[in-house]
């Protein structure tokens, strides 16, 4: 054992890069909502095929053995023994230390990773907690989390400033028009790209439901088909829903296109009430951006 949960926080789960390869059985991908922050935490620690806690505010842990941790993502006023410490870097923590994600300042989700990963069981090849499939559970008070002890190293301790994102409460998402884009007339597309949408409280790991200028498709149902990450589904009421890591595998609502995965990760850091805009992007640009992203972490 290495950590004891004193306060579970709003919604703390173990995540990884998702449960891939089971969509044909109706199993959702799940996994870290913000892969950018998640991957940095793992890169700092030199972890591979590992896991981390996805943290919204309120999580408090007690360290019971010396470990190296990395914290990235949202600024949730991370403190060690009551002292505010910088994130996007490694910390060596000792038995008795109290780690606390006190309150949200910016962003939504932080990642807490430990060198070597938390001891957990892989289910269908992944550590990702998926409550609706009965896989894993949210952390509870008094839970304990184990991790193996590793020799402490001193390299790669901090993310360079220019790679640390600033989280604001609004974001512009790059969109590839695709899927049923032909079910949206030109004036609907213009409305879509020129309007500002608000993140509603019905937003979660499955998807972000937006509210704003309705965009109306010419048909409202189609034969159910596979749903890619970032799909922008538009039901009858014209309010877009952006489908994220815990989305259903298939669905029958028209989709105007898909949000670039990197921008889905940014969206996961936008709070309820935050503002979202869209801009069109070409497939060439999107693929180049994603390749750079993967290369950075390879």
């Amino acid at each position: 054992m290495a950590f004891e949960i004193l306060q579970p926080g709003l919604f703390t789960t173990i995540q990884d890069l998702g449960r891939l390869g089971y969509a044909d059985r109706g199993r959702t991908n799940s996994g870290a909502m913000d892969e950018y922050a998640y991957r940095w935490a793992q890169k700092l620690l030199g972890n591979q095929n590992s896991n981390a806690l996805e943290v919204m505010s309120g999580l408090k842990l007690k360290v019971t053995e010396t470990r190296q941790i990395a914290v990235t993502g949202a600024d949730l006023t991370f403190t060690i023994n009551g002292r505010h410490v910088p994130i996007w870097q490694i910390h060596t923590v000792q038995a008795g230390d109290i780690l606390f994600f006190q309150r949200r300042v910016s962003g939504q989700r932080a990642y807490l990773a430990v060198r070597g990963g938390f001891n957990a069981q892989k289910v269908y090849g992944s550590y990702a907690t998926t409550l609706k499939e009965g896989i894993g559970s949210r952390l509870q008070k008094s839970d304990s989390l184990g991790s193996e002890s590793f020799s402490l190293t001193k390299y790669g301790t901090k993310v360079t400033d220019s790679y640390i994102p600033t989280y604001s409460d609004n974001v512009t998402l790059r969109v590839l028009l695709s899927y049923q884009e032909n079910s949206f007339r030109e004036e609907e597309k213009i409305k879509f790209f020129s309007s500002e949408y608000e993140v509603t409280p019905q937003s979660n790991r499955m998807g972000y439901r937006l509210r704003g200028t309705p965009i109306v498709p010419t048909s409202d149902r189609l034969i159910s088909e596979g749903i890619a990450l970032g799909s922008i589904q538009v039901p009858k009421d014209g309010q877009p829903i952006i489908l994220l890591k815990e989305r259903q595998t298939i669905g029958g609502y028209p989709k105007i296109g898909t949000v670039l995965p990197i921008d889905c990760f940014r969206l996961a850091q936008i709070p309820i009430g935050g503002k979202v805009r869209f801009e069109p992007m070409s497939i060439e640009e999107g693929q180049a951006k994603m390749r750079l992203f993967y290369k950075m972490f390879s």
Binding site: D24, R25, G26, E225, I227, Q248, G251, Q287, M290
Partner: protein, 202 residues
């Protein structure tokens, strides 16, 4: 068959825009063939399409289309058909909506059960939740529209009908299908697109 780009790392193979056993057979055969292509991350087959999530380090949006097209065209000539498993579902016909399904269709309960069990169904899609297989075609005599207001709680193992499809709820969930029975079957990960399913009365 057409192949379209849907996201930066997903393409979709679309077959004819109808729900039919002929199209299902095409989807099933193509799905099994695509599993052998390198660089596949996830495949999501459904009634008349297959979503392909591919590795961007392996393909770009043009080369994935070319590879998939070549692979599937070679297949059509070889005409090697996927078979699919046969899955038996022991069912107790005791559902809360069984009487209603009988009355709506002017049949006796026994006739509903006979019609439901004598049909060999195919898996047309899996989704809504993990392991929820959409089975068709329900004989037209017992096809019944979904409830106007979905129930907030449908127990795991419920056997149900909606329009011309039937299904088993793999978990407790909300749902608007007509519940006609219950099964102890719980191996929902077995279902694959195109499999053959038969309900047997216990």
């Amino acid at each position: 068959m057409i192949i379209r780009t849907v996201s930066v790392d997903c393409s979709m193979v679309y077959f004819d825009s109808v729900i039919s056993e002929e199209v299902l057979n095409q989807v099933q055969t193509a799905y099994h063939a695509l599993k052998n292509l390198p660089g596949m991350i996830d495949l999501t087959p459904s009634y008349n399409s297959i979503l392909i999530h591919y590795d961007l380090m392996h393909y770009d949006y043009q080369s994935i289309q070319a590879s998939v097209k070549k692979h599937l065209e070679a297949l059509q000539e070889g005409a090697e058909k996927a078979e699919g498993k046969r899955i038996i579902i022991p069912t107790e016909y005791c559902g809360i909506d069984l009487d209603k399904v009988a009355q709506t269709n002017h049949l006796s309960v026994e006739e509903v059960i006979a019609l439901h069990t004598q049909t060999l169904y195919r898996v047309y899609a899996i989704g809504f939740m993990v392991g929820f297989a959409y089975l068709a075609n329900v004989p037209p005599q017992i096809a019944t529209p979904r409830l106007r207001t979905p129930r907030t709680q449908v127990p795991r193992g419920s056997v149900a009908i909606a329009d011309n499809q039937t299904a088993i709820y793999p978990q407790d969930s909300a749902g608007g299908w007509n519940i006609i029975g219950h099964t102890a079957f719980d191996n929902f990960d077995r279902f694959a697109i195109g499999d053959w399913v038969q309900f047997v009365r216990v």
